[in-house]
C-alpha cells in the first residue's frame, strides 16, 4: 500500500496548490538558467554565424562587439593582399535607437560587405537576402518589423526584404543587416544644418591662412561635401573580417597582420572569450549567482513545506508506529511525497516555462544539459528537504497516538 499516494489523494487540493507553488518557484530557477544561457548564446551568436577566422580591429581594442573600433575602409584591401587570406570583407556594427510608428525601436545595425556578402548565411525565416546595394534591410523578428515594411533610418527609407530568427546582439537588441555603405550612412548621418555649419566652419578656418588668399580655389574646395575632399579620410569601418585560405595557418596570417602598427587581430575564439569575459561577464555572473541563490531558497521552502506536511501527520505516524510500522515505512512515505512534490513541481515548471519564456523580452534558452542538471538538483533537493520531516517523524513516539 502506497501510504504517500493515499495521503496525497486524501488531501489532493492542498497538495496540488503546494505543488503548483513549488512548480512556479522551480520555473523561476529554470528561467534564470535559461536567461543565463541566453546571454551567453546571444553574445557569441553573431561571431559564430559570421564565421570569420580572424577579426582585424582597431589597435588595442577588443573588437566592435565589445567596444568602439574604427579602422580605415581601405584596410580591407591591405588585408586581402596578405598571403594566406582567402577573402577579406568589411564589417560595420553599431546600435541605434529610433522611433518607428510612435514606438522606440533599438536596432543593432550590421553592415554586409556588398557584393561579396549579401546575407545568404543569415538564418532567414521569411523573405530573401539583399539584391541591391542600397535601401534594403534584413531584420530580426524580435524587431517586430514586417516583410515589405518600410522604415526611415537617417535620410533614407529602407524596405524589409528578409526576416531572421534569433539574430540578437549581446545587449539583447535585434540585429538588422544592410550593406556596409548603408550602415555607414546610417551611423554617420548628420542633419543638413550640421553639414552647412561644418562647411562654414571649414571656410572660416581656411580664411585664417594666407594660402587660401593666394589660392582661392582651395577655399572653394573646402566647402564641398567631405566625400569629395581628397585630404579628408573616407568613412571608417568597425573591423575587417578574414577567411583564411585552406592549407594556411591562421596564426601565421594573424601574426603577419598584427605586425602592422595600427590594428589588432583576434581569432574567432578570442572574440568569444573577450565578449564573455568582458561586456557580458558581470551580467552572466550576477544571473549565475542569483540562480544559485534561488536554488537554495527553493530547497529551504521545499524543506519547510515537507516539514509542515509531516507535522500535520504526526498523529497518523504515531498510529502507524503503534501498529508496528517500521521506521523505513514512515521515512519512505515522507521521501516519496518529497519526490512526488519535486517531480510534479519540475513538470509544472517545464510546462509553464514553455508557454511563458517565449514572451520574455530576452531569449530564454533551455538546453537539454541544463534541464537535466536542474532535474538532478530537484531530486537532490527533494531528498535533502525530506530529511527534516523524516527526522521529526522518527522522533514521534507511538505513545502520542493514544495521548
Amino acid at each position: 500500500m502506497n501510504l504517500a499516494a493515499k495521503d496525497i489523494r486524501h488531501n489532493l487540493g492542498r497538495f496540488a496548490l503546494t505543488t503548483i507553488g513549488v512548480g512556479m518557484l522551480l520555473m523561476i530557477v529554470m528561467g534564470m538558467g535559461g536567461i543565463y544561457r541566453g546571454i551567453i548564446e546571444d553574445a557569441t551568436l553573431l561571431i559564430d554565424r559570421i564565421g570569420a577566422d580572424l577579426w582585424v580591429v582597431q589597435r588595442d581594442t577588443r573588437g566592435p562587439l565589445a567596444e568602439v573600433s574604427r579602422v580605415p575602409s581601405n584596410l580591407v584591401y591591405r588585408v586581402a593582399a596578405v598571403p594566406g587570406v582567402a577573402t577579406s570583407r568589411e564589417f560595420v556594427y553599431h546600435t541605434i535607437q529610433r522611433e518607428h510608428e510612435g514606438q522606440p525601436i533599438r536596432i543593432s545595425m550590421l553592415g554586409l560587405s556588398w557584393p561579396t556578402d549579401k546575407g545568404e548565411w543569415l538564418p532567414l525565416v521569411a523573405g530573401r537576402a539583399l539584391r541591391q546595394n542600397h535601401f534594403e534591410l534584413i531584420a530580426d523578428r524580435s524587431l517586430k518589423l514586417q516583410l515589405g515594411e518600410r522604415i526611415k533610418l537617417g535620410k533614407e527609407t529602407y524596405t524589409v526584404v528578409g526576416l531572421t530568427a534569433n539574430m540578437i546582439s549581446s545587449g539583447g537588441d535585434g540585429i538588422a543587416c544592410v550593406t556596409t555603405s548603408d550602415a555607414v550612412a546610417i551611423q554617420f548621418d548628420v542633419a543638413g544644418e550640421a553639414v552647412r555649419l561644418e562647411r562654414e566652419a571649414r571656410r572660416a578656418r581656411g580664411e585664417r591662412y594666407d594660402i587660401t588668399s593666394q589660392q582661392p580655389a582651395l577655399l572653394e574646395q573646402s566647402q564641398k561635401p567631405s566625400a569629395e575632399l581628397p585630404p579628408i579620410a573616407p568613412a571608417q569601418m568597425s573591423a575587417v573580417l578574414v577567411a583564411v585560405a585552406p592549407g594556411h595557418d591562421a596564426e601565421q596570417v594573424a601574426a603577419t597582420i598584427a605586425a602592422w602598427g595600427d590594428v589588432t587581430v583576434h581569432s574567432r575564439d578570442d572574440q568569444c572569450a573577450l565578449l564573455l569575459e568582458g561586456s557580458v561577464d558581470k551580467a552572466r555572473r550576477q544571473i549565475g549567482l542569483f540562480r544559485v541563490l534561488l536554488t537554495v531558497i527553493a530547497a529551504i521552502i521545499m524543506a519547510l513545506i515537507l516539514y509542515t506536511l509531516t507535522l500535520d501527520k504526526l498523529h497518523s505516524i504515531a498510529l502507524l508506529k503503534l501498529i508496528g510500522a517500521p521506521n523505513t515505512v514512515i521515512a519512505g512515505m515522507i521521501l516519496q511525497q518529497a519526490l512526488m512534490l519535486g517531480v510534479l513541481g519540475y513538470g509544472i515548471a517545464y510546462a509553464l516555462g514553455q508557454r511563458l519564456f517565449p514572451q520574455f523580452p530576452r531569449r530564454v534558452i533551455l538546453t537539454q544539459d541544463d534541464l537535466l542538471q536542474l532535474a538532478v538538483i530537484v531530486l537532490v533537493i527533494s531528498v535533502l528537504s525530506s530529511l527534516l520531516g523524516i527526522w521529526k517523524a522518527l522522533r514521534v513516539s507511538p505513545n502520542e497516538a493514544i495521548a
Binding site: M1, L3, K6, L319, I323, G324, V329, S397, P398, I402
Partner: protein
C-alpha cells in the same frame, strides 16, 4: 518464565519526573494472563490503568520491572530485549477509547495496513480485512474514510484492525465506550472468542459493568497498585 502465560508482568513500576516533582504512576504491578484468558482491569481515573496497558503494550516502558510475552522477556525495566516495533506488529493488537484510525485511509485500508505491514499480500490482506469488517457489521462502509463514519463504526473498524493479525496479545482501553450496549457486548464476546480460539491473552480496561460476565478474571487498580477484584465475580 512460564510459557503458559500469554502475558506476565513482574513488579512494573513507572515513575514520572524526579525529586519534588516525582509521581509514581504504577507501583510493582504484577499480573499473569494465561493463553486464552480474558482479563478485565477496573479502576478509577488516574489509577494507572493506561500506564499499565501502555507498558504491557511496549509503548511506554516501565522504570523498573519486567514484561514477558509468551514466555519471552521483552522489556527489562526501560530496556528493550527485542525489536519492539516488530514485536508489536506480529504479536499485539490495540484498541483504544478513541478509535485512532488513520484519517487518509478508508475503513478497509485501515485494517489492510496492519496485515500488509505484517507481510500479507495486498489481495490476501484485502480479503481478510473485508471478512473482519463484515463480521463486525461495517463491511458496507469499507470505502468510507474515518471522518465519514460514526464513533461506533470507527471503533468497530479499530477492533477489526486489532484482530487482523490474530495477535497473541490484545490490549483494549475502554473499547466499548463509543458503542451501544449490544455492540459493546458483541465486541467483548469477540475478544473472548479470539482469546479462546487463538490462545490469545486479552486485557481490557473497562468501566462497563454490564459485560463483566464475559471476563475470565477481573483485576482492580488503585493508586498504581493492581490486585484481584473482590467485587466482581466472573461468570462461569
Amino acid at each position: 518464565m512460564n510459557n503458559d502465560f500469554a502475558i506476565e508482568t513482574v513488579k512494573l513500576t513507572k515513575v514520572y519526573g524526579s525529586g519534588n516533582t516525582e509521581v509514581v504512576a504504577m507501583r510493582e504491578a504484577s499480573m499473569r494472563v494465561r493463553r486464552g484468558e480474558v482479563v478485565a482491569l477496573l479502576g478509577p481515573s488516574g489509577s494507572g490503568k493506561s500506564t499499565f496497558l501502555t507498558a504491557v503494550g511496549l509503548i511506554n516502558p516501565p522504570t523498573s520491572g519486567q514484561v514477558v510475552i509468551g514466555g519471552r522477556l521483552v522489556l527489562d525495566g526501560p530496556h528493550a530485549r527485542t525489536n519492539l516495533s516488530k514485536f508489536r506488529r506480529q504479536h499485539m493488537g490495540f484498541i483504544f477509547q478513541k478509535s485512532n484510525l488513520i484519517p487518509f485511509l478508508n475503513a478497509c485500508e485501515n485494517v489492510q495496513i496492519a496485515l500488509q505491514l505484517n507481510g500479507r499480500t495486498r489481495s490476501v490482506a484485502r480479503r481478510r480485512a473485508m471478512e473482519l469488517l463484515d463480521y463486525l457489521g461495517v463491511a458496507d462502509r469499507a470505502r468510507n474514510y474515518p471522518s465519514m463514519l460514526s464513533g461506533g463504526q470507527q471503533q468497530r473498524v479499530a477492533v477489526a484492525r486489532a484482530l487482523a493479525n490474530q495477535p497473541s496479545v490484545i490490549l483494549a482501553d475502554e473499547p466499548t465506550a463509543a458503542l451501544d450496549s449490544h455492540r459493546g457486548r458483541q465486541v467483548m464476546e469477540l475478544f473472548a472468542k479470539v482469546a479462546h480460539e487463538n490462545g490469545a491473552g486479552v486485557i481490557v480496561v473497562t468501566h462497563d459493568q454490564r459485560a463483566l460476565d464475559v471476563f475470565d478474571t477481573i483485576y482492580e487498580m488503585e493508586d498504581g497498585v493492581i490486585r484481584p477484584s473482590q467485587a466482581a465475580v466472573p461468570a462461569e
